[in-house]
Amino acid sequence: MKPSPFDYVRATNLTEALALLERHGEQAQILAGGQTLIATLNMRLSAPDWLIDITRIPGLSGITLTETHLVIGALTTHREIERSALVAQYAPLLGQAAPHIAHAAIRNSGTIGGSIAFADPAAEWPACCVALDARFVIQALSGERRVSARTFFRGLYDTDRAAHEIITAIEIPRERAPRRSVFMELARRHGDYAIVGVALLGRVDQGRLSDVAIGYVGAGATPLLAQGAMAALEGQAADADVLARAKAALAQDLDPSGDLYNSPATKRHLAAVLLERAVKQLLA
């Protein structure tokens, strides 16, 4: 399990990296944390001619606050997000989700930008970004654009990012008072990819839920926003009937495929169990 040969360039600035991407197109791969990429290279499931290492480009890492957004540089590692006080204050959901991403040794290298770009539907960050209505800052030589997380993920491992573009940052809208959040996922073992997971945001006022957002991990070809369930819960006290309606709505919201150990029907069932448990925890 040794990778195929490739040429390696350690880009020193963003323009250089973008120029290399323009030149080599699909033959080039961006190397960030490498925690997924290098495993696939070792298995020769992927064999790019060029690997463009962007990890030492200054300015792509770190967590900052603007007037309107919490901004997370694409090269920020999972571990940094897990430990960030700013994240804990302004997007606690991310801090709750981070411990579910693999293990510390992986989180020390893996980056949020890499996770978003790879777009594994079983990964945690994409679903969190969808729930948080985050947007991604995407850079090409021709300029910069911003794309909503809710439109960025197009299909299985397929995104709105073109081969010559680099995600430089994740921007999460600042809220006057951050919503409550719960992240829950089921994995066969601690640290495994999720079978299914849920990212739940909402406010609770006298037992009633509002501003509800629900993102799902592992419940379709892309991270999903469970809009039916969100509508069922919005403005409601989460009693048994409401919960039943929300869970029923998941039938339309989700479209899981089976894996080695779980059929689609099982995943739908587990997704519903998780929703109920997450709502109860949000209310608690």
């Binding site: 040969p5 290279l41 070792n42 990890t55 992986i106 640290g191």
Partner: protein, 157 residues
């Protein structure tokens, strides 16, 4: 195409020649002669190749040697202080925390980064962290006990 790469391992400098595709694990083992770091899966799951890079545990199979240039690497060979075993190594003997020894270096480096921190890990944190590596012999109980004991011993030194 091989290229010159300089690695800092256990505070020694190794000037090697390697292709960009050479993983850090292979470079350590074959170019630096540091065979204490083992490869158990080469896809980042088993953790046998765990080394410490700039203070954090990382999988040496999921990093190319060229990426490790300029970073401080610690491997199992650097754990003992000369002739004196690291408290963790001694704890592994005392608690029978290894059998075949193949996963051991990975567990030692993972645990080292954990117990050398300023704040000692609590039991749940310890278990979570140690769950990142696989051992097929011990059933883990003795590894967890050894790391806990070493964490205490390290702070009493």
């Amino acid at each position: 195409m091989k290229q010159p790469i300089t690695l800092q391992v256990n505070q020694n400098t190794y000037d090697i020649e390697a292709e960009p595709r050479r993983t850090l694990a292979d470079a350590l083992r074959e170019d630096c002669g540091l065979t204490g770091t083992h490869l158990g899966c080469e896809h980042g799951v088993c953790g046998a190749c765990t080394v410490i890079v700039d203070g954090d545990p990382m999988r040496a199979c999921l990093m190319f040697a060229v990426q490790a240039e300029g970073r401080a690497i610690r491997t199992v060979e650097g754990l003992a202080a000369g002739a004196t075993l690291h408290p963790l190594q001694q704890a592994f003997i005392d608690h029978h925390a290894l059998q075949c020894g193949f996963c051991t270096a990975g567990f030692l480096m993972l645990a080292t980064s954990l117990i050398e921190r300023a704040d000692p890990p609590d039991d749940q944190e310890l278990l979570d962290a140690l769950s990142s590596n696989l051992c097929r012999c011990t059933g883990y109980k003795n590894i967890v006990n050894a790391v806990r004991a070493a964490s205490v011993a390290l702070r009493q030194r």
